[in-house]
């Protein structure tokens, strides 16, 4: 059984909290100057016993076991804010936090029920919703354009489109997939999907500390990717993008990789002439943690939106690197009730309040979790009559000539 790891084996084996100093990334952790920026920027910083700064203190003091026993790391929604802001450039969200969380998770006696169910489902069915794996590609039947499946077409393709879970099963995620398929066609891209063989990339499980589950899924998906000839991978799932980009190279992943939003931005010259329908919307774009802070795609989604005739782009107070997390990352998607029971504000609600303040008609997103999170938050805020949530690809597909 191979084991995927956060950093390539440099002769010291797999990086752990004990041998951290043997890895350059680990060494960096010890360069922390205790400035506290991480805690201050963390959306749940005030509610957390052990923000990154505190973890590093405990690690240095040899008291890390204390951290393992606390459940406060469940508060971390892997928003990448601390990592983006750390003046020492420590890769907190990507490297340190998963290692700590893995131990926290191993020590946890009561895993919140909602989260437990999602993890068990992901292991068993390859998706957190517990839907039948044999129905993963069912959405393609409702696609406006044909969506070829690799196992059926038996020929090499240019783009392997890794669809992912929400975009396969959730009705609003399927809207995203149908739009993406339409855009591939419009851009003249030769693509195919893995169909029912695909399983969750598992990035949220990893960020939450369920590394074993992530490894199991990685083994599976990596074998699957090797089965088919293709040139590059495109995915609309921001978390899968992260998994492929930062984790999979350790198990030999060396394919060209794109997220749909920047990918279509690259194809804008082909798409733009076909974006002929005028959409008279005022749109505000939410920078997702993965795509924005983690990968720096701030301009691409905006360029796409601005290419749509009639669209007026307005910005929220917190954008770019300062964007407010939707609260769904790092397992947060399955901890809403746990947070509610603790009395925390739901981050998606914090975010849509700001979106509503812009007066825009549309909140545009580019991570599949956000659609359901923000639509729900708008309902709770009573803003669902004033504003709708749409993925960038949905808006583009809507603007396409028929």
């Amino acid at each position: 059984m191979s084991t995927a790891t956060a950093s390539a084996d440099n002769g010291n084996g797999v990086m752990t909290l004990e041998n951290l100093a043997k890895f350059p990334e680990g060494q960096k952790v010890y360069s922390c100057m205790q400035c506290g920026t991480c805690a201050a920027t963390c959306p749940y910083g005030e509610d957390s016993e052990f923000p990154p700064r505190q973890i590093i203190t405990m690690l240095q003091a040899g008291l890390i076991e204390e951290v393992f026993k606390s459940s406060s790391l469940l508060n971390c929604v892997a928003c990448y804010a601390c990592m983006a802001k750390c003046p020492r450039g420590i890769r907190l969200t990507e490297v340190l936090l998963p290692l700590v969380k893995e131990q926290v998770f191993a020590h946890m006696t009561d895993v919140p029920a909602e989260l437990q169910k999602a993890l068990q489902n992901t292991l068993r069915y390859g998706n957190p919703m517990g839907e039948s794996p044999r129905k993963r590609a069912l959405w393609t039947k409702t696609s406006p354009v044909p969506v070829p499946v690799l196992a059926e077409i038996k020929r090499p393709v240019d783009v392997l489109w890794f669809v992912e879970c929400y975009t396969s099963y959730h009705p609003r995620g399927q809207d995203n997939s149908r739009a993406t398929a339409k855009l591939f066609h419009a851009a003249g891209v030769d693509f195919a999907i893995l169909g029912n063989e695909e399983k969750c990339a598992g990035e949220c499980a990893r960020l939450l500390g369920e590394k074993g589950l992530f490894d199991t899924l990685t083994d599976y998906n990596m074998k699957l990717l090797r089965k088919y000839p293709f040139k590059r991978i495109v995915t609309g799932a921001a978390h899968a993008y992260d998994a492929f980009k930062y984790q999979f190279p350790a198990v030999g992943f060396d394919f060209e990789l794109h997220h749909t939003t920047p990918f279509f931005a690259q194809h804008l010259d082909k798409l733009k002439p076909r974006l002929t329908k005028k959409l008279n919307y005022a749109i505000t774009y939410h920078d997702s943690c993965c795509l924005g802070r983690h990968n720096g795609f701030y301009d691409e989604p905006r360029a796409l939106l601005q290419a749509i005739p009639g669209v007026k782009l307005v910005e929220m107070t917190h954008t770019g690197v300062n964007s407010i997390c939707c609260g769904g990352g790092g397992g947060g998607m399955w901890l809403d009730t746990y947070y509610a029971a603790k009395g925390y504000e739901r981050l998606s609600e914090r975010r849509v309040k700001e979106a509503l303040d812009t007066g825009a008609d549309v909140l545009a997103v580019s991570c599949p979790y956000e659609i359901s999170r923000f639509e729900d938050a708008l309902k709770v805020q009573g803003g669902d009559k004033r504003m709708v949530v749409r993925d960038v690809v949905e808006l583009l597909a809507e603007a396409l000539e028929d």
């Binding site: 909602e114 919703m129 009730t337 509610a340 729900d376 709770v380």
Partner: protein, 323 residues
């Protein structure tokens, strides 16, 4: 068919359980097909007056024994085994309730015969009993012949309407004696559910409210309906988020997983996150003003209408029926 058709009457804390009448109704049909008498068997202690209620049967066997005062399945099963040896019924219909199922399985074990489970319908044809059994959580129905003598058959609630098994006819009661030794298992006491702590996963009847209920005050309409049905109120997440109901009342992906016998939905759209928590309900009735609401693809029965009007109307009608 040689031998009577028996139904085992269930008495629960001084009352004949409703399922007993459902079994009487079903048993009546089966007895008719088999050309055999329908006989009800009631076991208890000082419970003879309950036997009067079983007039829908051709005859009633009533066994009185102090050891049958408490719900000790072993005693009931031993008593029944004695009666079965003596009277040789063709079939024994047992209510599939938490109370009676243990009597049925212990009885079958004592007699060394199968316990035919999850039966929702039963027929006597050509000297055989044919049962329709609900398997795999309702995903399949099996038609099954039961040839054991006697056939012990667990009947699901709702097999026939309760009314059909009630009768004003005076019951013909025969007192029978059973001998019971001290049981291995001792009943200590009943534990009542504590007021306040409502466990919606344990309720047979749930009235679920969504944003369509509009204001917190309107919750009363749902509470009234739930109280009339003998159930509890639960809700979709926005309703819980607004603080109208406690967290423990939330149904769905991030809430409770419920499978009640009846799930009445007042103003819930049917978001997948909600549906995940209630799709296993046995009967789902949705009331929604929007004819295109996705919940109508999930519900068994749908009403396009104002929940604020339908709920009180329904409460009144049910009250009237229940008397």
């Amino acid at each position: 068919m040689a031998g009577n058709i028996w139904i085992i009457a269930e008495a629960w804390r001084g009352q004949v359980s409703e399922i007993t009448f459902e079994l009487l109704a079903l048993g009546r049909e089966v007895a008719g097909q088999a050309g055999a008498p329908l006989e009800a068997v009631l076991l208890g202690s000082n419970a003879r007056e309950l036997a009067q209620k079983l007039g829908a049967a051709d005859s009633v066997l009533y066994a009185d024994n102090a050891a049958l005062a408490d719900p000790v399945p072993e005693n009931f099963a031993t008593a029944l085994a004695q009666l079965i040896k003596e009277k040789q019924p063709a079939a024994v219909l047992v209510p599939l309730t938490n109370l009676s199922v243990d009597v049925g399985v212990v009885l079958a074990a004592q007699l060394g015969v199968p316990f035919l489970n999850y039966c929702k319908d039963l027929k006597a044809e050509g000297g055989n009993l044919t049962a329709t059994c609900v398997l795999y959580g309702g995903k399949m129905e099996a038609t099954v012949t039961a040839s054991a003598k006697p056939a012990i058959i667990g009947i699901l609630p709702g097999a026939r309407p309760v009314e059909q098994g009630r009768s004003d006819k005076a019951a013909t009661i025969t007192d029978v004696a059973v001998t019971l030794a001290a049981p291995k298992v001792h009943f200590k006491r009943y534990l009542e559910s504590e007021a306040g702590d409502v466990d919606i996963t344990q309720k047979d009847f749930l009235v679920a409210v969504g944003r369509g209920i509009q204001t917190k005050d309107n919750l009363d309409l749902a509470e009234d309906l739930a109280a009339t049905l003998g159930g509890a109120v639960c809700g979709s997440r926005p309703v819980i988020d607004q603080g109208w109901l406690g967290l423990s009342r939330q149904v769905g992906k991030s809430g409770m997983l419920v499978k009640p016998k009846l799930y009445v939905m007042l103003g819930i759209s049917g978001a997948p996150e909600h549906v995940e928590g209630m799709k296993g309900s046995q009967c789902i009735i949705a009331v929604n003003t929007d004819a295109a609401a996705p919940i109508f693809n999930v519900a068994h029965y749908g009403v396009v209408g104002d929940a604020l009007e339908v709920a009180p109307a329904l409460t009144e009608k049910i009250k009237a029926r229940k008397g």
